[in-house]
Structure formats: C-alpha cells, structure tokens
Symmetry: C2
Subunit: 158 residues, 2 copies
DNA sequence: ACGCGGAACTACACGGGTGTAAGACGTTAG
DNA sequence: CTAACGTCTTACACCCGTGTAGTTCCGCGT
C-alpha cells in the first residue's frame, strides 16, 4: 500500500507555499515574509513574478520548523538570520541526528559526545536544539496535512 | 591590606544605579528602564518617588549581567522577563557554580552531571548559561569601577 | 483554441508591541 | 541656594509581521 518511502528518507516530492506553511506550523504571510526577506527561499522552485509557484523541499521544511522553534524559544529573528547565513555556507552534512548549538554568531552541528564537550567548555550563552525532534515535528505535520500520506498511514496502522 | 572579603563572599555593600550600570556593562537608561518595568528592582533600596535613590546589592548585579548576556545572545527581553518571573518564585539556592538552563518558559539550575541529563533528554530549544562566567564578569566589573577596590587589587598584585 | 475559476504570488501600507533615549522634574549635599 | 545627581514621563524608532487588493498563471470544460 505505502506509495511512499519512510518520511525522512531522501524524499523527492516538493510542497507548495500553502502546504509548507501548514506543515511548518506558521502562517502563509509569515512564510511569504521569510521568503521575500531571504530567510528561507524555496529550493525546488523560487517565485519569479506574480502567479508563479514556490516549491519547497523536505529540507526547507526542516529549516522552517527550526526557525519557528527558535522564535518560540524567544530568540530574535535578526540573530536567527545571522545563524542561517553562516550555516548555509558551512554546513553540508546530513541533518539527521545532530544537534544545533548556537553560540553568539557562530553555529556548530554536534552529535552526542561532541555536544558534551562543547557545553562543558562553552562560555556565554549556548542555544541548543536537537534536530531529531524537529524532524519528528515536520513528519507529523506532513502526515496531518497531505491527504494521501494520511491515508497511507491509516493503512499501515490498521 | 585587603579591606574587603573575597569578591563573591556574601558582600553586604550596595551600589548606586550608576555604579550598577557600569559594573553590569549596560547604559544607565537601560538599568532605569529595567527597574521601572519590574525586570530587576534594586533589592537594597527601591525608588520611592522622584529624587530618591536606588541601591543594588551584589545578587542584583549578577541578575543584571545574566540578562545582558542573554540579550547579547539574541534572546528577546520579553522572554527573559518570563524566565525571571519564574525564577524569583522558584529559585532560592545559592547561585555559585551552577548553570542556568532555559527551556521554553521553565528554568532549571543544574550542576555538572545533571546538566548532561537535561541536555540529552531535552526537547526543543535549550538556552544554556554557566553562571561562573557571569560571576567573573561582575567581579571584574566591580574591580574596574570602584576606585578603592581597584586600589586593593593593585596592592595585591604588587 | 478559448475563456473562466481559483490558487498562488506581489505590492503597499499599516499596526501592535517593544526597547530605548531625551528631557522634565524632584531631592539632597554642601 | 544651587549644583550635582537620580528618577519619572513621554515620545520615538524599530521589528515583525498582517490585511487587502491586485496580478499572473494553471487546469479544465467546451
């Protein structure tokens, strides 16, 4: 039955702006604002004039959700911007089970032991966000939002 | 020689608004704003009508500096407010070598191993701030700002 | 091929809330 | 008395969007 792979396995499908907003748990206007101000552009297809369509991929959804979580945690959008500018240039590795650590204007991706070292020796404020939780949130969002996948899930559950 | 105890030992002396601002590394305006909006009231003596004088104690200085560091880390003052409202009600223990961990609107004071557990099992964004660094910053601020203590330090150094 | 309905993006202006600074005002020391 | 200092009031600029109307494009029926 399952017409799709596991959620987080390199999915090739893309999402419209409206879908992406719903999945990430933000308003469409906010998504639009972030796209226009270069915070998160849709990777699959950017808008080019009125009437065109943005297409977000799975990784974009992760970023959107990370930003939402950071905002909810009370971090200013301005500093989130700096963090992501940095990350885009420096991070290529897979974002699966790592943890984002933000210290001032620099960002580190850690797993397990590394994390502990960083925290022990870190001075100043560190913002710590485990990405596994973010992925789960996004996957739940996809299931709850896209009708066909929801159907698949039901099939699996029964 | 040293006419005072060690910096962080229960010091009884108090500080004026201007002194407190300088030691914490913030503008006087900012200190004033925080006092008027109930973020950090001077414990030793609060303002009671125009022309009266605020007196801050050592612990107040620590709080001021923590807030400054959180702000510098890109956290919105609004959420810092919520955190401190909570902390005032729940935290009575000594703030010596612990670490503040902020998760959403709740705050935890940890030391060492505890910290590791919290971070491992934590969901969402965690803001981590070791207080030892804060205390050092404040003590340096006091030395650099109050003339007599600075003199003491010189005596010790020479 | 053509028109039409609706979804999606765009342009523009506005607004609540927040953090800060300037200056008016009061008080106290000397 | 008055100069120095500290507090209180008010105004302002900025952030982070949102409301709304307009525009473009897609898909579909005919």
């Amino acid at each position: 039955m399952a017409s799709r792979q596991n959620q987080s396995e390199s999915r090739a499908e893309t999402f419209s702006g409206t879908q992406a907003a719903r999945i990430a748990g933000i308003s469409y206007r906010r998504l639009d604002y972030w796209a226009r101000t270069d915070l998160v552009r849709p990777t699959a297809a950017d808008a080019q004039g009125s009437g065109s369509r943005r297409r977000y991929n799975y990784r974009d959804l992760l970023e959107l959700r990370v930003i939402k979580d950071l905002l909810d945690a009370g971090i200013r959008l301005e500093s989130i911007r700096r963090v992501f500018d940095y990350m885009r240039d420096h991070v290529t590795s897979d974002i699966s089970a790592a943890t984002i650590v933000i210290s001032g204007s620099s960002v580190i991706l850690c797993d397990g032991d590394e994390l502990f070292d960083v925290l022990r020796h870190g001075q100043g404020v560190l913002n710590v966000l485990p990405l596994s939780g973010v992925r789960d949130e996004v996957d739940r969002g996809i299931v709850a939002t896209t009708p066909d996948v929801a159907a698949d899930e039901k099939d699996l559950a029964v």
